[in-house]
């Protein structure tokens, strides 16, 4: 029994609302510090790439955005699945909070990738497996948000959009492995080879700082959105009085 109490507390809106409020600064400030440090390291300290010169510095905003697009989608789809299976309102609220964050960073990944592709590949866009599957990810996010906003009733919106989010998971491994499964214009991953990193530490450390900083930033934004989503799902509870009292 005792091992389940944490799960029940996580399902309780007042607990989540106050917990989210208390946790937000613990993610927001480290995120700001890591991103500022990563920017300085990436723009100033890291040496130019031997092939791409200073153009490679786009990686410090492109890779974190692309990472966000996938990580946020996984968070959204898993929460949506938990919401469907255990009928947990808070899990649906997490999923709904993820979508606009994920969509905006997917858009950012596509545009910064395009700005990187033009000087390096000679084209802004190519119907390449990696690029196409990332574009489909943007459409999944937009479809999810469109479906939600088309439904007046929050519970119906939660359930229908959750099905879409869970089904859309098939696209995630396609994006991730697209550069290894097919011949792609896109370069192979340079971070995930921990045994033999493709970058010297002066290039790699700022990138890791940006990746971690963006991840913490996502959690901070998610926590703020989650409070709004939890509050708007609550119809009768008396704790609302406490939550909205200035």
């Amino acid at each position: 029994m005792a091992s389940w109490t944490w799960f029940h507390r996580l399902g309780s809106p007042p607990y989540i609302y106050s917990l989210a409020a208390r946790l937000t600064p613990w993610f927001a400030w480290p995120a700001a510090a890591l991103i500022l440090g990563g920017l300085y390291g990436g723009l100033v300290l890291a040496p130019p790439d031997y092939q791409q010169g200073d153009g490679f510095r786009i990686i410090y905003v492109h890779a974190p955005s692309a990472w966000m697009s996938l990580m946020v989608y996984m968070t959204m789809a898993i929460s949506a699945g938990v919401g469907l299976i255990w009928r947990m309102k808070v899990a649906h609220a997490v999923a709904a909070s993820c979508a606009p964050i994920g969509a905006s960073f997917t858009f950012c990944a596509l545009v910064t990738g395009s700005l990187w592709g033009q000087p390096m590949w000679g084209t802004f866009w190519e119907w390449d497996p990696r690029l196409t599957s990332e574009l489909i990810l943007l459409f999944l996010y937009l479809g999810y948000m469109g479906l939600r906003s088309a439904m007046e009733d929050v519970q119906r919106a939660d359930r229908s959009s959750a099905v879409l989010a869970v089904v859309g998971i098939v696209n995630v491994p396609i994006i991730h492995y697209s550069v290894t499964w097919w011949k792609s214009l896109h370069q192979a991953p340079s971070v995930m080879k921990l045994a033999r990193p493709a970058m010297p530490p002066s290039m790699l450390i700022p990138l890791l700082m940006m990746l971690l900083g963006f991840t913490l930033f996502f959690v901070a934004v998610l926590l703020v959105r989650l409070r709004g989503e939890v509050l708007s799902r609550e119809r009768s509870a008396s704790w609302i009085r406490e939550a909205v009292s200035p």
């Binding site: 200073d54 606009p100 905006s104 858009f107 930033f217």
Partner: protein, 55 residues
């Protein structure tokens, strides 16, 4: 400084990428705060209506 801004000739690609990312980060903060403020406003209105109905 101008050498830094020139980005080895890639300024036209590097700076718009960083600029867009900054915009996306700032928009996420603004959107999240606006969503929370709006939900609080709406919850306050619901409460006021209920109190009004009770008395």
């Amino acid at each position: 400084m101008s050498e830094f801004l020139d980005m080895g000739g890639y300024a036209a690609y590097v700076w718009p990428s960083y600029g867009l990312t900054l915009v996306v980060v700032v928009l996420n903060i603004v959107w999240a705060r606006r969503l929370l403020a709006r939900s609080r406003e709406e919850a306050r209105r619901r409460l006021a209506m209920r109190v009004g109905g009770d008395t």
